[in-house]
């Protein structure tokens, strides 16, 4: 007799992969649920464009580092693993930084030191330790893509709110008529500054917690 409550793991591979991808987007969102990667979250979210660029850089670094760490997981010496993770992450961050400097020089200037600082981003080293060093390559890549996407979405939501309130624009497209151009909206300068980032993040965290509490 077949027990339906314990499906064959072979048949559940799709579900495991789906879970690995979706977890990072909402249930284990690095910004809203785990409060990781706070430095770029607060520093580069004054506008959507730099936030999106930072998110894409993190997706690239996270995917590449998870791929490499997963490939060498069986050869990793426990006492050298953090060194290996940092070496791997630093390499891909350097590559991403060079690409930004070459093809997006303006964005590279805006992001400044926050791209090299991805090396010490807890999200990436956390996923290397918790997932890539233990799981297969496909699972590690899906985990990286999901977590990276979750991080990027969080950054863009935060940046979208701050950009609209601080300039009346979204993605550099004017959506609210500002007073300086004869409109009614007075931009909130504070939203461009760190205080705006802290307040917006706090309110978003409260909203996410409220939604999660209602859902559960």
């Amino acid at each position: 007799m077949v027990n339906d409550s314990h499906p064959d793991p072979k048949n559940n591979i799709g579900g495991v992969h789906k879970q690995a991808f979706l977890a990072g987007i909402w249930r284990e969102n690095p910004v809203f649920r785990s409060l990781l990667g706070m430095c770029p979250t607060l520093a580069v979210t004054a506008a959507v464009r730099p936030a999106l660029t930072m998110g894409l850089c993190v997706i690239f670094v996270l995917t590449c580092s998870n791929l490499v760490v997963s490939l060498m997981r069986k050869c990793l010496k426990p006492h050298l693993r953090i060194l290996m993770f940092t070496l791997t992450i630093a390499t891909f961050v350097t590559v991403a930084d060079l690409f930004l400097k070459a093809f997006q020089p303006r964005m590279s200037e805006i992001l400044g030191p926050y791209v090299p600082l991805i090396i010490v981003n807890c999200i990436i080293i956390g996923r290397a330790e918790a997932c890539a060093s233990k799981k297969s390559v496909p699972l590690s890549i899906l985990d990286a893509l999901g977590t990276g996407l979750g991080f990027t979405l969080a950054l863009c939501v935060l940046a979208g709110i701050r950009e609209i309130l601080s300039t009346g624009a979204f993605f550099e497209i004017q959506v609210l008529p500002v007073q300086a151009q004869g409109g009614w909206f007075q931009p909130w300068a504070a939203m461009r500054m760190p205080v705006g980032a802290f307040i917006t993040l706090g309110l978003l965290l409260a909203a996410v917690n409220l939604l999660s509490a209602r859902k559960s």
Binding site: K77, L80, L87, T94, L98, P105, G112, A190, R192, M193
Partner: protein, 206 residues
């Protein structure tokens, strides 16, 4: 001896191999992208210099001058000569840097061919506080420098920003950033002017 080496290799072979591979990856990426990155910097400098002196058709590197920064460190500044379409020298431009409120400020400034009048300045890079210190970047504040005499500039907190003289009115709420810009221009302008006069590239004004 051999067991020790064997143990060392067994423990670190992965680290050595990955370090080598990653080193090659970074070196290859850098060598492939370095020309583009260098060109981007030149383009930005040219763009800023052309913005300061629109009459200049092209800029030629005159040389690198050594400048002592406000902190006493040695720095180099690239001096460019701005040429008109007919090839006449119409201005000089130089880059300089110094400490701002939040971070280092790098700027490019231009003066007339005799070093008597400032044509203006623009920021190459600065990470000053958004909404306050970063107001040193817009033309609204920078235009005070255009036409100012190429003598030691003085920062004042109140005054008429429309009046073009050696007094620069600070950005409200960003005196440190404003002072940093004035200090950088004063420091580089005076030292470069002196060296240019010594080398006979410009007259000594007598």
């Amino acid at each position: 001896m051999f067991p020790e080496i064997k143990h060392f290799v067994r423990q670190s072979w992965l680290l050595l191999v990955t370090s080598f591979c990653f080193g090659i990856l970074i070196a290859a990426t850098n060598s492939a992208l370095a020309p583009t990155i260098k060109q981007n910097k030149i383009n930005k400098l040219n763009e800023l210099m052309s913005g300061l002196v629109p009459e200049a058709a092209r800029f030629e590197l005159v040389g690198q001058f050594e400048v002592i920064t406000a902190k006493g460190a040695k720095a180099t500044s690239n001096i460019y000569k701005g040429l008109s379409k007919s090839g006449d020298s119409i201005c000089y431009s130089f880059n300089g840097q110094g400490s701002g409120f939040a971070d280092k400020i790098e700027l490019v400034a231009a003066v007339d061919k005799n070093f008597r009048q400032i044509a203006g300045f623009d920021c190459l890079s600065s990470n000053e506080t958004p909404g306050f210190g970063d107001r040193i970047k817009p033309l609204l504040w920078r235009r005070q420098f255009a036409g100012a005499p190429a003598v030691k500039l003085k920062l004042v907190k109140t005054g008429d920003p429309e009046k073009i003289d050696n007094e620069i009115v600070a950005v409200t709420g960003a005196t440190v950033s404003s002072q940093a810009v004035v200090n950088i221009i004063n420091n580089y302008l005076m030292q470069i002017k002196e060296q240019m006069q010594e080398k006979g590239l410009i007259s000594n004004g007598q």
